[in-house]
């Protein structure tokens, strides 16, 4: 199909889609006039029922926890897909060291960027861990904190330390973290199932409102999700850097 023909087909389709969208949007409540009731009920009840100040986090990991297990396995599956697609092909081999140094020239950055990146590695990890463990108290949680922790290796790469990072050979640990993170969430769910007959039932002591050790199973799941997300993100980053920096087709 020529580009012109394709644009015509798109224009017709887009006009139809736009009309349908506008029709649908017109049926929504006016902007800012939320009708509820679920959000209001949860905002009223979550603090008393779960001792979680962050209601969003309580919804993600408790009230709608079963759904989040599914989401987490999408993440798990996508990371496995990336690893599988970017595995070393038969005709590929690693570049020789001298060759590698030359090819990494494109990643060369100024001294200011390198020093600043290196200085940011540890604070990033600490901030990420803070966001994970305080997920039920303040904005954040396992997903957000996991992403922040997973950003730390990006700074390692920007600091020009990728080859050092790689020599640690973190892939085994990352695979383990990815699997354990996903399994941990399900395990907490199964504890609830055994104890009360309902998957992911919040069976642990709720503790004092505002304490890190409160809200029952929610912080445990936050940590488990945090490990999963961070490990998954670093694995993906690792696979892409391996591709661009180290592999060459035969």
């Amino acid at each position: 199909m020529s580009r012109r023909a394709r644009l015509v087909v798109f224009a017709v389709g887009a006009a139809g889609a736009a009309a349908l969208l506008a029709w649908g949007l017109l049926g929504l409540p006016d902007f800012g006039h939320y009708r509820g009731p679920y959000g209001d009920v949860l905002n009223e009840q979550a603090l008393g029922q779960r001792h979680a100040q962050n209601v969003v986090n309580a919804v993600v990991l408790d009230y709608r926890g079963f759904d989040t297990v599914g989401e987490e396995f999408i993440l798990f599956g996508a990371v496995i897909g990336v690893t599988l697609l970017l595995r070393r092909q038969r005709e590929e081999h690693e570049r020789a060291t001298g060759d590698r140094a030359r090819d990494m020239a494109f990643a060369r950055t100024s001294d200011a960027v390198r020093v600043f990146s290196l200085a940011l590695v540890v604070p990033t990890i600490v901030l990420g861990l803070y966001v994970v463990v305080h997920g039920h108290l303040s904005p954040g949680g396992g997903f957000q904190g996991g992403l922040i922790v997973g950003a730390a290796p990006v700074f390692v790469y920007l600091a020009g330390r990728y080859v050092v990072f790689r020599s640690v050979d973190p892939e085994g640990a990352l695979d383990l973290g990815e699997g354990m993170g996903a399994a941990g969430f399900v395990a907490v769910g199964l504890v609830g199932l055994v104890a009360t007959g309902a998957f992911l039932e919040n069976v642990w002591p709720l503790g004092q409102v505002g304490s890190v050790f409160s809200a029952g199973t929610i912080p445990v799941i936050n940590v488990s999700v945090g490990i999963e997300v961070a490990a998954g993100l670093v694995l993906v980053l690792f696979e892409f850097l391996e591709q661009t920096l180290l592999l060459r087709g035969g």
Binding site: A14, G39, D40, N43, I74, L86
Partner: protein, 112 residues
Amino acid sequence: MAPYLLAAWLFLVGLYGVVTSRNFVQLVMCLSVVQSSTYVLILQVGYKLHATAPIFKGIPPDARAVDPVVQSLVLTDVVVGVVVTALILSLALQIHKRTGTLNPDDLHVMEG
């Protein structure tokens, strides 16, 4: 009504990018724009005028707060979206390795 049109605009403009793209990497980014239109719409549906975030720390327990359910829906999807984008990009990488091109128009023949 008017704020909702932002979501419709993002959806259509992203779709336009997907249709006309000459580069798989750009195409994936356009797909992310389409995806973000859903975030905008879902968050808008849960918004309340003069309401605060549903985090009850330092505010009275009966404070007026926006819907936490839609926020939790978007939250998980943003993270999953990042990894799914990575999955599609790795497909693009393999296409480039096999065919030497990233232009969808240059891929005419199905190869087994």
